[in-house]
């Protein structure tokens, strides 16, 4: 499948599937399919934004990539090698060094009983990037890199003494401490005040451009996806429905769901109410044997075949793909 292609692919995902067990009935295990047939490539020094509403499988995808969850099906390739082989050859620790994660909640991602110094020194010591003498200097350098001044005082503080934006910067510094190739940012700005969001986004953009780190940027907010990421993929209930270069996806959206997402972005200049133009359908619970397009119940342009089969990939423009029956 020729999905998001670019010269140097770091992490590649093909037809990834993840099922979660949801209790039992009639001695048969019920499964919920959180991620279905998802494929994308993550390129060096580029960001891929994954956009979608809550429960669309964005975070599950990222957690499979960090090996918190195991995938049910599909292939993950890291640096040209299948993930399992890479881990077997280089060890879990080496994969952990190369792929790091930033979490959504800056209040939950730092241990309240440890100082900032501990949080950043640990990854350095685990991955032997510093010893007892040099680690202090490295910690201060990292804190300054993410814009926390003065570094020495900040390192002595505890998480509760910092603001949300500062904590998220600490979380980024911790992810950077291992010198990763890929950072999976799981809604890094959605819990922050609007006023500090841009600062965090610009910091990540700097890291992407200057250090060549690849980002997978998970977000609700399609506007920041265009601002930060080169590529955007829109997900709905575990399915990728539209993807391609961020400009094309956000400027000329083809899939009805993407159009709905874009019309839901509030604009400062707009006044009065505006109808969203979608049916108030149910968001389906996806099971391995569910058929059709997940969006068909809410889609204003739904055809008869939409509830029968999930559409194939159609290329609508150069670097712009969509899965929809009614283009």
């Amino acid at each position: 499948m020729d999905t998001l292609k670019s010269p140097e692919v770091v992490l590649s995902v093909k037809n990834m599937i993840k099922d979660f067990p949801i209790g039992q009935s009639n001695n048969k295990k019920n499964l919920m399919r959180a991620v279905n047939d998802v494929s994308f490539d993550l390129c060096k020094g580029e960001a891929l934004a994954i956009v979608g509403e809550s429960g669309s499988g964005k975070s599950t995808g990222a957690r499979i990539l960090t090996r918190i969850y195991d995938k049910t099906g599909g292939d993950i390739t890291f640096k040209g090698q299948p993930l399992e082989e890479f881990v077997k050859e280089h060890g879990t620790l080496e994969y952990a060094r190369q792929v790091q994660m930033i979490f959504q909640d800056p209040f939950g991602s730092l241990n309240p009983v440890h100082s900032i110094f501990h949080h950043i020194a640990r990854p350095l010591l685990i991955h032997k990037r510093g010893n007892k003498e040099t680690v202090e200097k490295l910690v201060y350098e990292l804190l300054e890199l993410v814009g926390l001044f003065p570094a020495v005082e900040t390192a002595e503080k505890y998480p509760h003494e910092l603001s949300g934006g500062q904590r998220q910067r600490v979380a980024i510094a911790r992810a950077l401490a291992v010198d990763p190739e890929v950072i999976l940012a799981d809604e890094p700005i959605s819990m922050l005040d609007v006023s500090v969001r841009l600062g965090i986004l610009n910091l990540m953009a700097d890291l992407k451009d200057k250090h060549g780190i690849s980002f997978m940027y998970i977000t609700h907010d399609i506007a920041t996806a265009r601002y930060f990421a080169e590529k955007t993929a829109v997900m709905y209930v575990g399915h990728m429905v539209e993807w391609g270069s961020s400009d094309k996806v956000t400027q000329t959206p083809q899939h009805p769901y993407t159009q709905l997402l874009l019309s839901a972005v509030p604009e400062a200049g707009r006044s009065g109410r505006r109808e969203l133009g979608a049916k108030k359908g149910e968001i389906p619970m996806w099971k391995p044997d569910t058929k059709g397009c997940p969006f068909s119940a809410r889609c204003p342009r739904a055809l008869d075949c939409c509830s029968e089969s999930f559409p194939e990939v159609t290329q609508v423009a150069d670097d712009h793909f969509i899965r929809c029956h009614n283009i």
Binding site: Q100, F103, V113, E153
Partner: protein, 326 residues
């Protein structure tokens, strides 16, 4: 690097002060903050200090040898025998000091055993989950439904009149399930926090995650559970002693009660022989319970009493008056 920290002009502590003194100062400030506006801590801490000092300096403080006949039977409290004498002519004051050593060390030892088991079982099953959790939870439930005191009585009776070390071990291995449950549920809550997931993603080892990331978050609950177990173990030790299942030749608060009962001291009017060890037990239990309460207040600010609450109540009353609610 180090130099730049200490020579910083904004540093609150002058840099000529040595590191050790800084640490002492910080510890002192913390202690003061703990006791400030915390009456249970002050009362409990004071009582416990007195009791511990009494136990520690028992050989110096006791006026007579607690194991020797030093008076006539059932002598009332007097200047020579401050708390009177027993049926066998032992000095009650010296015995109660000596008994404090035995009873407290048994209770502490049992508390330590129970806490170690509770923490290891609770944290392991809470952190690893799955099959390990199922089995450990099963074991915990089995121990939890055993009626503890009858079990102890049967075990102690089966083993004959046993020494206090055996009693401490018995108490320790039967009183951990309650603490294990609390610690397990708390571990489950912390385990799903993102800082644990991020430590896992970072490649931190499981042992370090448990010891460095999870355990420090459990300190107050572990300590609270420890004190609760000590109170329980003290009561159970006294109960076993009172029933004559401990070693009656050792002086402990339990065996003192046993001898007081055997000599029917209350019927003969020698109330001091029965009341002194009973009050000692009650005071120690109360002091520990007060300390436990004060720790609860630190770990759970919602339970906080003291000046803040008093001020709030006062302001609330005034506000209600102004609104005409009273």
């Amino acid at each position: 690097m180090n130099n730049s920290i200490t020579s910083d002009a904004n540093a609150p502590v002058p840099h000529h002060e040595s590191e050790f003194r800084q640490k002492c100062r910080a510890a002192w400030m913390k202690t003061k903050a703990f006791f400030h506006g915390n009456p249970p801590a002050i009362i409990g801490g004071f009582l416990m200090t007195v009791i511990l000092l009494g136990a520690l300096f028992a050989p110096v403080l006791s006026t007579h040898n607690p194991d020797k006949r030093v008076a006539r039977p059932h002598e009332a409290p007097s200047a020579d025998h401050i708390l009177g004498s027993t049926r066998n002519g032992r000095d009650v004051f010296s015995q109660v000091l000596q008994g404090a050593r035995k009873t407290l060390s048994v209770a502490l030892f049992a508390g330590i055993i129970a806490t170690v088991i509770a923490v290891s079982v609770g944290v392991t099953s809470g952190y690893f989950g799955g099959k390990i959790d199922e089995w450990m939870n099963f074991a915990t439930n089995v121990f939890l439904v055993f009626p503890q005191l009858p079990l102890l009585i049967v075990l102690a009776a089966f083993l004959g009149q046993v020494s206090s070390i055996v009693i401490a071990v018995l108490l320790g291995v039967t009183s951990w399930p309650w603490g294990a449950r609390v610690i397990r549920s708390q571990t489950l809550a912390i385990r799903s926090k993102e800082f644990i997931i991020s430590a896992e993603v970072m490649g931190e080892s499981k042992v370090r995650i448990i010891l460095v990331e999870i355990l420090p978050n459990l300190i107050s609950i572990v300590f609270g559970g420890f004190l609760g177990t000590v109170i329980y173990a003290m009561g159970a030790e006294a109960a076993l002693g009172f029933l004559g299942l401990g070693d009656a030749t050792e002086v402990s608060w339990g065996s003192m009660l046993y001898w007081a009962q055997v000599s029917s001291s209350l019927y003969t009017g020698a109330w001091w022989e029965m009341l002194v060890p009973a009050i000692a037990l009650a005071l120690t239990g109360g002091a520990l319970a007060l300390i436990n309460m004060s720790i609860d207040q630190v770990s759970n600010p919602k339970l906080k009493t003291g000046p803040h609450l008093k001020l709030w109540k006062k302001l609330n009353k005034e506000a209600n008056k102004r609104r005409g609610l009273v």
